[in-house]
Symmetry: C2
Subunit: 329 residues, 2 copies
């Protein structure tokens, strides 16, 4: 699948092509399943951190079979062999290595064996959610037991992963969701508290839950004017990690509140983990351990046919999903 | 000195009064010298973090003689005795304990013996500057040798203290100042680089100085629209500490840049140090050591008579000073 221009989902073009010759550090994957990410919708629209060079491939997460390895892969990544069932980790360029397609060519650094306990659907739904949430909440945020972690837009796949990570760390999660539709699902997934932002006053609800202390860590996908309410919900010397911009409105810096409370407000992407050897290694181990323990269970919202991938992206833009949208080849 | 309403410097009222009975943890100081702070101008205007309760005292920093101790001071703070030459540390309420006057009543926790090497003028100019800069750059920012630290509005007393702390830590300081008038003084004070923001392109200058890396830590007193240029001048995973709001304009959060670079933008006040026992103790030791080593030399801009304290505050608002404005009783 390639795109030749930025625009609506109709710019996604399915084409016949043969895989390129592998560079020494690349592997070829026969893709069985694709996990969709908002980053791909933004990328298609020309709004993502990485800008397209046309023609551009697209897509971050896939599960499939490793078919061939570049010449240096065997020595550099001895754990990978042809025949392995693998997942991709989104540390690479979508333009160059995008995984929407029957095959994908990805740097071996960003390929990991898929745990046996996971289906291919789940295997295409691990790394962006869990590594993103891990990086902010655990690696950089250093969450500790008993703290309160506020997770906004919690019904996204990253949101669900965050709830499980908070639980694993012995902290309390407060999930926000706009309408009551997903409240029960969030509670079922282990959220300690759920705030329906269109029905409840966020700041008052958080102050009540935390006995006036506020949230120690806020993991936010929204930004925009909502940041002021988040700052008001944040504890003294609390941390706000903004990893998305679902609100397209201007984001004001809450200066007075941040001075008064010593708030730390960070932009954050998963690349801060994948592009750092030590953090990346610790992060992979953390996620695989959580899966092995049975604490991390990727939540699949729906499965689309590959021919309907444009519809799957449109569905993602509707914000009606509850977990990961998956596409089968 | 008391104020009965917020407003211009004419609201500062000099009155005859007798000191109140000391609480068990308070001390009485006969003030010889007052060091002015912008926080006091803002407090007078009703724009400070602490709001006034009228009638309100005012003032954070003084040097003078300890005259009397509350009943618990001897056991809790055995290093303090009547007759000591002492400095106040601004961790208290101005409304209640403000030091503008012939005497001041201050919690003993926020009183420290004045190093012998310092004059009374210098003794009234230590704690706000050095503890403020220490807290952001060293205690929270964890500056390391070889890093680049950008100090905005560097000709303030806090700015000068920051330059000395950066040098003591083996890092490189980049001072900004609006006009060329104070450039030489900043270089003489040990700034490794000075950028005159009305004449030079800040972002280009910082990129050139740092070989394209950007500043690791930015210690900013300005906020407002200037924050965008600071974010552009900031290194990957760099930290911006905003400790003042000289610009009264709205501060936008530089979302795209902060996502791309993983920037951490914090509001910061010295209270994050003074209100935490461990940080406070380490901070006092750090500042006193720097003074004893001769590395920290408070820079006095001018000395006003106590009767002219309103004029001294007006002068501070003019932003023409270069270092600390001091008032003698």
């Amino acid at each position: 699948m390639r795109i030749y221009e930025n625009g609506p989902s109709s710019v996604l073009k399915l084409e016949e092509a043969v895989p390129p010759v592998l560079s020494e550090d690349e592997v070829l994957i026969k893709v069985s399943t694709i996990g969709l990410n908002r980053a791909e919708v933004l990328f298609r629209q020309g709004l993502y951190l990485e800008r397209n060079t046309f023609p551009s491939r697209i897509g971050y997460e896939a599960c499939g079979t490793l078919v061939a390895c570049g010449s240096a892969v065997k020595s550099s990544f001895p754990s990978l062999s042809p025949g392995d069932r693998v997942s991709t980790i989104p540390g690479f360029s979508q333009t160059k290595h995008g995984v929407y397609g029957e095959w994908a060519v990805v740097p071996a650094r960003y390929v990991e064996k898929c745990p046996q306990v996971l289906s291919d659907e789940a295997g295409a739904s691990i790394w962006m959610p869990y590594l993103t949430a891990y990086g902010a909440i655990k690696a950089l945020g250093a969450v500790s037991a008993g703290q309160y972690v506020l997770v906004t837009a919690a019904s996204s796949s990253v949101g669900y992963a965050a709830l499980e990570i908070v639980k694993r760390e012995g902290a309390f999660s407060i999930a926000t969701t706009r309408t009551a539709a997903k409240k029960q699902a969030l509670l079922d997934a282990g959220a300690d508290y759920v705030i329906v932002t269109e029905e409840e006053n966020l700041v008052a609800a958080v102050q009540k839950i935390t006995n006036g202390k506020g949230a120690d860590i806020i993991f936010d996908a929204v930004a925009g004017p909502f940041l002021l309410a988040l700052a008001k919900s944040c504890a003294y010397e609390g941390q706000i990690f903004i990893y998305g911009a679902l609100s397209l409105a201007t984001t004001n810096f809450p200066l007075q509140l941040s001075l008064k409370r010593g708030l730390k407000i960070s932009g954050y992407t998963m690349f801060q983990i994948t592009h750092d050897d030590k953090r990346f290694s610790l992060g992979k181990e953390y996620v695989l351990t959580g899966i092995a323990e049975g604490m991390f269970k990727p939540r699949i919202d729906s499965v689309f046919d590959f021919n309907d991938i444009a519809a799957a992206q449109d569905y993602m833009e509707s914000n009606k999903q509850n977990g990961k949208i998956v596409v089968k080849i």
